[in-house]
């Protein structure tokens, strides 16, 4: 559950009206301002340019080709307006799309499975993190990255707790969030993080985003 935070100015791009309206209502009820809700990538680009929102929530598949218009638009927005966070959400999880998104963006990006809207507070929490320049990666993508990672030997050298922490790091969680999620103290989290980065041979990073990128690069390589 996110604490009370400043209202966000949000643009929604989603071609299914029922989801677009549902999201708009839910976000509005939570005190945020949906400045535009559009149905395709072109309208999204215009709305983002016009309203300069804190964050854009973008469906991957939109007209006209229903393939990855949303992803392309998200990358373009991030390029042109890095101050606007982009949260791409999709019916299907594709590690490659996530990788593409995170390769370009040091922060202010998110990639979530559409199902995550079901857990409203978590979803709004994710939006807020992206709006604040943080990074959000769907746990499912992280799980796939873990299972496809070629560094199995090194990963096997981590304790189960450390693997849990690494997974949360890859999802974009801060130390405080990890501490809350695992019911441990922030100090213990710091110890785990240091140990993980040491074992994986990664340079310790000061910011959350840098360590997310480091973790992802590691899992992918």
């Amino acid at each position: 559950m996110s604490g009370p935070s400043a209202p966000l100015r949000i643009v929604i791009a989603e071609d299914a009206a029922i989801m677009r309206d549902g999201l708009t209502q839910t976000l509005t009820r939570r005190g945020h301002e949906v400045v535009a809700a559009v149905a395709d990538a072109d309208a999204l680009r215009k709305a983002v340019e016009e309203h300069r929102p804190d964050v854009a929530i973008i469906d991957v598949r939109m007209p006209p080709t229903h393939t990855d218009e949303g992803l392309r638009a998200a990358l373009a927005i991030h390029q042109d307006q890095p101050e606007t966070g982009v949260l791409v959400f999709s019916q299907y999880i594709e590690t490659q799309s996530a990788t593409e998104l995170f390769a370009l963006a040091p922060g202010g990006v998110g990639y979530l499975l559409k199902d995550r809207v079901a857990d409203v507070s978590d979803f709004i929490d994710a939006i807020t993190r992206v709006a604040q320049g943080g990074t959000v990666l769907d746990p499912e993508v992280v799980r796939q990255l873990f299972s496809a990672s070629r560094r199995k030997d090194t990963l096997a050298g981590l304790t189960p707790r450390e693997r849990e922490v690494l997974s949360l790091i890859a999802q974009g969680r801060s130390n405080a969030a990890i501490a809350a999620a695992l019911f441990i103290s922030p100090k213990v989290v710091e110890k785990h993080v240091a140990s993980i980065f040491d074992k994986l041979g990664l340079a310790p990073s000061d910011t959350d985003n840098r360590r997310v990128i480091a973790a992802l690069r590691y899992l992918e390589s």
Binding site: M19, G22, R29, H66, D115, V117, A118, A148
Partner: protein, 403 residues
């Protein structure tokens, strides 16, 4: 000149083929004309009787196609009568003039030809035997009356008659053979045409089914999945609101269960939709395989040199085969490295999936590889497995560009 003559003959043949009755009529008239001399016989009654005999022979030619056996039998009867009564028997009385052989008797050769051309050999051979016997008897009975003539002439007459009869039979027989050959040729052409037609229909069915699957996936994506996600979102909100007030645990538990059910159903529906048509395929086989490779637990090296995209149905078959093969390798082979290669070959694509695992994979009825083979065969594709014990294993799939 020659091509011109050839065309002329061809035209005549074509005309004869188009007008068989008229052609036979003309032939009969010509044969009848050969015995026109009989009209000069006196008395008139004899002349008319002789002409009537020739007329019957001519009629057998006209009806020869309708009933070759009956026509031949009738002509043969007349011929036999002529042999007995029309030729001066040895030391017998004078021949019956109305039954003397004439040019019209050539009708017998025509009828023997017809018999050989339109009836089975056992029947036409009997006709041939009858004709040869008749010819022999004719020469034998004719010879004494012309004793003055040399033996050479006798021999020539026998040989001539025999050769004429044989030639008629051989011509007819070869015609029958040729016709049977044409019939079998036509059958084969019909079979080939049918095969091509079925192939086209199958291609349409395969494309149509691929398009339909894609449509179903899209409908699910735009319809049921979105509605369900919206429903789950609403349930999630209700649940969170109930948690805030938290004075009805029973209600909270029920809403919580409904919320969880909606989320589980979403996950199931997603797997189902992806099984129907992986949306990544819309971007092409190469990108789809790259995504597949990216999620493999065993490292995959992918090379894709296909420039012109195959039809969606073919891409789907190749993709599902690759997915199944990757799963097989992961489960059974103990491999450390997988290589997927896709390239163009002739009018199709070749995809090979190779691993450095234990080998020993085999195509067994009902097995996973047999399932892939069946799938590949629906579009005339091929699947070959090379997997010696100890590895490496290589499965090669050839697919046409279109179904």
């Amino acid at each position: 000149m020659e091509p011109y003559a050839g065309i002329m003959l061809q035209d005549v043949y074509a005309w004869v083929r188009r007008h068989p009755r008229t052609a036979d009529g003309v032939l009969a008239a010509l044969l009848l004309a050969g015995s026109a001399g009989q009209l000069r016989i006196s008395p008139l009654s004899t002349a008319l009787a002789a002409t009537a005999v020739s007329g019957v022979l001519a009629v057998t030619v006209i009806v020869r196609r309708r009933d070759p056996v009956a026509a031949f039998a009738a002509a043969a009867l007349i011929g036999a009568a002529q042999l007995v009564f029309g030729l001066q028997p040895d030391g017998g009385g004078p021949p019956v003039r109305a039954l003397e052989p004439t040019v019209t008797d050539l009708a017998l050769a025509v009828l023997l030809y017809t018999l050989a051309a339109y009836r089975p050999r056992r029947i036409s051979l009997a006709g041939l035997a009858a004709c040869l016997a008749g010819a022999a008897v004719a020469v034998a009975r004719w010879a004494p009356a012309h004793a003055a003539n040399s033996g050479e002439l006798l021999l020539a007459a026998s040989a001539g008659l025999g050769a004429a009869v044989l030639t008629a039979w051989v011509l007819g027989d070869s015609m029958a053979y040729r016709r049977a050959y044409y019939v079998s040729l036509e059958d084969r052409i019909a079979v080939a045409e049918r095969a091509r037609e079925l192939q086209e229909r199958r291609a349409r069915a395969v494309d149509e089914s691929a398009a339909r699957l894609r449509r179903i996936e899209r409908d699910l994506h735009d319809g049921a999945q979105v509605r369900l996600a919206a429903l789950a979102m609403t349930l999630g909100e209700i649940k969170e609101n109930l948690e805030q007030v938290a004075d009805d645990d029973r209600m909270l538990a029920m809403v919580g269960a409904a919320h969880q059910n909606a989320k589980d159903t979403l996950a199931e529906l997603r797997d189902l939709a992806r099984g129907i048509h992986p949306p990544v395929l819309d971007r092409g086989l190469g990108p789809a395989l790259a995504i597949l490779a990216g999620t493999s637990a065993i490292p995959v090296r992918l090379t894709d040199s296909v420039t012109e995209r195959p039809s969606p149905a073919i891409e789907a078959i190749a993709y599902f085969c690759a997915a199944e093969l990757l799963a097989n390798v992961t489960k059974h082979s103990g491999a450390n490295q997988i290589t997927i290669g896709v390239r163009e070959q002739d009018s199709g694509i070749v995809m090979s999936v190779t691993d450095d695992g234990d080998g020993g994979a085999r195509l067994v009825p009902g097995g996973g590889l047999a399932g892939l083979l069946e799938r590949v065969q629906t579009v005339d594709g091929k699947l070959a497995v090379d997997s010696p014990p100890g590895g490496p294993t290589s499965v090669t799939i050839e697919l046409p560009r279109h179904a």
